[in-house]
């Protein structure tokens, strides 16, 4: 296995709230190899966004504590001085956020903001930054980039804005791009275009972490998949393995709830019973246990993420997961 680009070990994020200390990310470990696309999936509140914000140290509230190790090219980002951390942000790791409507400062032109990102890290003239911004915008598929550069964010459509945000993220050719639900706020057709764009980027060699709750998006683009539940990793493995032989009951639920084109017509889409666990209400043992059809006594204890290349955190016997999945589905249908 090559040296990982990003290696997160035992990441823990706690929020101090009125109701007491809430653990949003609880001992999360994962890694991203150079050029790899890691898809992070999970329901809302599973801690996927928060953990990525923690990686870039973008959780600035004084009520947040982050612990663990975030090794990027061997350096622990959590221990870096602010100034060095700033040099990492945008230059080596860039991030794209979910809502392109609010992600750009409304009072500056799109070109100004891209040029600002370039000039934050490189000693280039205004003119040169401008020229690069034009190239970047046309690279992400904005027609007539030279004139669109002088447009304000509110003059762009949602898809265009997300392209502009991606162009800004790519301005310093980062080796890792973290995209937090980059397509969720967009129309379906625009989603496909943005995904194509991301795939091109990956072909160009940059590694990517793609946060989403859309299994379809993951199946299209990810090399490996990390399934999160309740602030912990539930399952992690190569895409094919996770999609064709999912091991964690939660992953089963996620996969079963995706409608299939051409599959048998269902009277009702299967859902995962119960509601997602709220941070703060996570049980001692397996986080998914309260919603799991197959829970048993062992689930009172917290399972560790284990396995070889395809890991999972579940107490079920590892031999016959596929059989268990079928029987669980049958009991679901019978009830």
């Amino acid at each position: 296995m090559p040296e990982p680009l990003l290696d997160v070990r035992d990441l823990r994020v706690c929020f101090r709230t009125r109701q007491g200390l809430v653990t949003a990310v609880d001992g999360l470990s994962f890694s991203v190899a150079p050029g790899e696309v890691l898809g992070v999936v999970g329901e809302s509140g599973s801690g996927k966004s928060v953990s990525m914000l923690a990686v870039l140290r973008l959780l600035t509230s004084p009520n947040v504590t982050v612990s663990g190790e975030v090794l990027f090219r061997g350096r622990d980002l959590l221990a870096l001085p602010d100034k060095e951390m700033r040099a990492v942000r945008g230059r080596e790791i860039a991030m794209v956020f979910q809502d392109p409507m609010t992600a750009l400062t409304p009072v500056y032109t799109v070109g100004w903001q891209i040029a600002e990102a370039i000039r934050a890290h490189e000693q280039v003239s205004r003119k040169e930054a401008h020229a690069r911004a034009v190239r970047l915008l046309s690279d992400v598929g904005i027609p007539d980039a030279a004139s669109r550069l002088n447009a304000y964010p509110h003059e762009f459509s949602g898809g265009m804005r997300q392209r502009a945000v991606i162009a800004m993220a790519l301005s310093c050719s980062p080796s890792l791009l973290i995209a937090d639900e980059p397509t969720t706020a967009l129309d379906v057709t625009v989603q496909a275009q943005i995904l194509d764009l991301m795939r091109e980027l990956n072909a160009g060699g940059s590694a990517m972490v793609l946060i989403t709750h859309d299994m379809g998006v993951v199946s299209q683009i990810a090399d490996r998949v990390l399934v999160m539940y309740g602030g912990r990793a539930a399952e992690e493995g190569p895409r094919r393995a996770v999609f064709h032989g999912p091991r964690h009951p939660y992953t089963w639920g996620l996969l079963d709830s995706v409608p299939r084109v051409g599959g048998p017509r269902l009277r009702r889409l299967p859902t995962i019973a119960g509601v997602p666990v709220a941070p703060g209400g996570i049980p001692e043992g397996c986080a998914f246990a309260p919603r799991c059809r197959l829970r048993h006594d062992l689930c009172e204890e917290r399972p560790v993420l284990s396995g070889d290349t395809h890991l999972d955190a579940c107490w079920l016997p590892s031999g016959d997961r596929a059989g268990l999945r079928v029987s669980a589905r049958d009991t679901e249908a019978a009830s």
Binding site: A273, G274, V275, G281, S335
Partner: protein, 338 residues
Amino acid sequence: MTLSPSPGARRSPGPWRTAAGDLLRNRTALAAAAVLLLVVLASLCAPLYADHIAHTDPFQSHVSGTTVVDGKTVPVLTPSSTGLGLGVTPIGPTWDPAHYFLGADNQGRDVLARLLYGGRTSLFIGFTAALLTCVVGTLVGVVAGYAGGVVDAVISRVLDVVWAFPVYLLAICLSVVLLTNGLKLGPVTVDAGSLWLPVTIIAAIYVPYIARPLRGQVLVLRNKEYIQAAVGSGAPTPRILRREVLPNVVPTAIVFVPLMTALAMLTESALSFLSVGVQPPDASWGTIIEDGLGLLYTRPAVTIAPGLLIALTTAALNVLGDGVRDALDPSARLRGGV
């Protein structure tokens, strides 16, 4: 499959109770309320003080009166020793509650007694004007926002013009015209010397301050799904207004009451200072400051005391208003960011 409520969830208390709880936990707001209560109580006690402690009539001039200081009888007004001898110097603060505690004004009237009576006037005008503005402003705003169309267009244009008109100038215009003859508008008659005249004027000029934000709020509400649903299900308009619209608007209007009272009191004092507000023989804190204008360098207490009281009261109202705002509707803003 059944969904059982999670054991930790309790029935949530209503919005009013939550707000009341928030307000009661807000110590700054409680302190402000206490200060306010103290001022109101003191003002209510004005006749008690004047009749039983100071034994003086604060509305009667005592140009040749005498009083007792340190056991000696002294005149209330002494001819001015400086200047051309035209003016008089009233007695200064004696710090004796029974005899001109804060001194006298240039007509020999007890300043403290006048302050207490003035407080009644100022508080009365401030509070009634604010209440009137809030009620009228809410009605106008709700009608304009909910009715839409021509009604809204007409009301909004009128509000725009009044809004663009500097408030003090508008108040001055109205006062100048109404001061001599009073106001006769249909069944409403307000006498020229009545306290209701400044109340009406102040309430009128601030209506757009309340009506405009509330109209905006109602416009947004109108397009909310639950209102559309109520309209779609054929609920009669008065019922929608009462059950769906008003409960959303009233908290904002309530937030405006203390802030508006502060604003109205400041306006009243300014108008009285310009001699187009409260008319003699009535006194308000503003008129007392005006009385003290000529005595500023000799008897500053006449000016300073009422000003301090205005500042204290309006500050308490503003702090209390902030607390109410935080509890009920954090986004509510009067013009001027107050």
